[in-house]
């Protein structure tokens, strides 16, 4: 048999290539271009080389200081919400009904927060948590607790975390629920016959079977919280002071507030690289888990 070598198929990729070039590559290159220059308005640009990057990665500089502050703030926020949402999501998924009419009801109820647009979520909580007219803020203050998310750093953080948990725990729960549903009944029956305790069933059957969806849940929640913008912007505007200024908020302040295009470009490139690196780590972990699973099938 003669194998005909034909590379014409590559032409079929051209439209996609063109679209990607215009939507990703060219804008990204513009940002790269900005990141090595300084501008003083009036559309005048001056070459700055890697200067912004040096400033950015040096915590003793003004730019580096604020970058690392918001980076740690952001990582702390992601860590806190993951530590709450993942176990809480698993617990909710375990408690959700398996059959009957209540399945549909609980699925719809769980999906509701996910359907609300980010800025609306922010607005809801902004009003809800206000100490003068918000139900939550008013109630907490009437309990004798001095709660004011616009004034106290801790209160602002608590409000943000509670808001994120309210908004996104459903996602983790639904993913885990899907993972749990895929476990055949025979596993539970075998475990009962083997005399396994509830905890042993969770450890030896449910958790291992949920591994994949949990990885996806952690990835999605980490990425989303690491790039969070709208909700804190609407709720606290990054305040009080800079207490809730996360990376994306800081970036917008820098780019659109101060119009420091060069600094902002450098910051957004580093921000982008961090996200890419985290994605890569997750991708590697997941594919190696899959490869292991495939070897099992074979």
């Amino acid at each position: 048999m003669i194998k005909i070598v034909n590379n014409k198929a590559w032409f079929l990729v051209l439209p996609v290539f063109a679209v990607v070039a215009f939507s990703v590559v060219l804008p990204l290159m513009t940002v790269v271009n900005y990141s090595v220059q300084d501008s003083f308005g009036n559309n005048q640009f001056f070459w700055n080389g890697v200067g912004w990057f040096q400033d950015l990665l040096d915590p003793s500089k003004e730019l580096g200081g604020r970058f690392f502050d918001s980076l740690w703030r952001n990582l702390l926020f992601s860590g806190i919400i993951l530590a709450i949402e993942i176990p809480l999501g698993i617990a909710i998924a375990l408690a959700m009904p398996r059959e009957g009419w209540s399945v549909a009801l609980s699925l719809v109820l769980m999906a509701l927060p996910l359907l609300i647009p980010w800025n609306v979520v922010g607005t809801i909580w902004q009003v809800f948590a206000r100490s003068d007219i918000g139900l939550l803020g008013w109630a907490v203050n009437n309990l004798g607790i001095d709660y004011n998310y616009t004034g106290h750093t801790l209160d602002a953080w608590i409000t943000l975390v509670v808001m994120d948990v309210w908004h996104w725990t459903s996602l983790v729960a639904l993913l885990c629920y899907a993972g749990l549903k895929s476990i055949p009944d025979a596993y539970y029956q075998a475990a009962r016959i083997d005399g396994a305790s509830r905890w042993a069933v969770f450890r030896t059957i449910q958790l291992p079977k949920m591994r994949r969806v949990l990885l996806i849940a952690v990835l999605l929640r980490f990425m989303d919280s690491f790039m969070i913008y709208t909700e804190p912007f609407v709720l606290t505007g990054g305040g009080p002071g800079n207490a809730t200024t996360f990376l994306s908020i800081d970036l917008v302040k820098l780019a659109l507030g101060q119009f420091d295009l060069g600094k902002a470009a450098a910051m957004s490139l580093v921000y982008n690289l961090i996200i890419l690196a985290v994605c890569w780590v997750f991708y590697t972990v997941m594919t190696s888990a899959d490869a292991k699973a495939e070897r099992v099938e074979a």
């Binding site: 025979a186 075998a190 009962r192 016959i193 005399g195 396994a196 030896t204 099992v296």
Partner: protein, 365 residues
């Protein structure tokens, strides 16, 4: 070690069963003797898995009791019964090694570690798993995993019965025989009651000493493979066991003669007092129905002759009904017309599907 008694057992999945149609399992009285190898045979949805799950305690019966020896275990949870079960799809704990898998039931029951280790080694040797003891259980083939699930049952020294729920479904055909003979060996070696659920008659007949045939939620016959073949108690058993199954022909019986349409067929026994208003049928296995050139016997129309390897089976029409007959060696049929000879000793008469015992003709006349 125990004798398992099912006492007026019945189960309905809906909470308020009205008539018999609501019962997935109709009333059953049965005794599984200690050390027996039983098969529970029936088509999908006939209630065999329900019965199995009731014995193991995964399902609580709507009515009736289960006794292990003389102890009522109806309300005991699964883990408190000395029963093990192997499922259709192999269940192994993915994160554990084979050794940990086998030790799991003992660990949960707080058996001392040295006793557990010794027992695991012993069972692994029995099941030929010694060489893979330290491998991850999830990386093994389906038949190995099925052995591990079996091993988790055997490892408990107090296990009285092992229940198998179609355990060979996902096993490669060439390994099925091997695994089945392993089961038989273990049965011989360990004196454990084994109850094996299957819809495959070959599996049931080769595995079991006694086969319980179920149909539509009820036990229709219990017997040795020979009994099921020779004297099916119900037309369903005749049809379900054997390949091809028993021929069942509507008939009319007068004295010791049956009439299928207008063909007289001599019987060995007489059937006085056959109920008038029930469906009367004649059953005979193809093995006892021989095709011969036309002239003698009952005339039939030959449709085709199948060579099934060890025998030839003729597909013929008798008065418009398709039946199967065996073709003796050396018999050649010219054209479509032939006749069949009935072996009168193997003809059974059924009323509404149930076998009617006949009376010796001598006594009757």
């Amino acid at each position: 070690m125990a004798r398992i008694t099912l006492d007026h057992l019945a189960h309905a999945y809906r909470p308020d069963p009205q008539g018999p149609q609501d019962y997935a399992l109709k009333e059953i009285n049965h005794v599984w003797t200690q050390g027996g190898a039983y098969a529970l045979l029936g088509p999908s949805g006939c209630g065999k898995t329900t019965l199995l799950n009731i014995i193991s305690g995964l399902v609580r019966p709507t009515r009736g009791r289960i006794l292990f020896d003389d102890r009522d275990v109806t309300d005991l949870p699964t883990e408190a019964r000395n029963i093990a079960q192997v499922f259709q799809f192999p269940v192994v704990y993915d994160t554990m090694s084979v050794r940990e898998n086998l030790a799991f039931p003992l660990k949960n029951r707080h058996v001392p570690r040295d006793r557990t280790a010794a027992r695991v080694e012993e069972i692994a040797r029995l099941l030929d798993l010694s060489s893979v003891l330290d491998r991850k259980a999830s990386n093994l083939t389906a038949d190995m995993k099925q052995k591990i699930s079996l091993g988790r049952g055997l490892v408990r020294p107090d296990v009285a019965a092992i229940l198998f729920d179609e355990p060979l479904t996902v096993i490669d055909p060439h390994l099925k025989w091997q695994l089945r003979s392993t089961l038989k060996e273990i049965h011989r070696a360990l004196d454990i009651t084994m109850i094996y659920v299957t819809h495959d008659q070959t599996e049931a007949l080769t595995f079991a000493d006694r086969v319980v045939v179920m149909h539509d939620g009820a036990v229709v016959q219990t017997g040795t493979p020979d009994e099921l073949f020779e004297r099916p108690a119900h037309t369903f058993v005749g049809h379900f066991i054997g390949s091809p199954g028993m021929n069942v022909l509507p008939c009319r019986v007068e004295g010791a003669t049956a009439f299928v349409e207008n063909n007289a067929i001599a019987l060995k026994q007489a059937y006085p007092g056959l109920p008038q208003n029930q469906r009367i049928e004649l059953g005979i296995r193809p093995e006892f129905l021989q095709l011969q050139p036309k002239g003698t016997g009952v005339p039939v129309h030959v449709r085709r002759i199948d060579d099934i390897g060890r025998a030839r089976i003729a597909r013929v029409d008798l008065a418009g009904r398709a039946i199967a007959a065996s073709v003796p060696e050396g018999v050649l049929i010219a054209g479509d017309e032939a006749s069949i000879a009935f072996d009168a000793r193997h003809i059974h008469i059924y009323a509404d599907g149930h076998l009617v015992p006949g009376q010796p003709t001598g006594a009757h006349v």
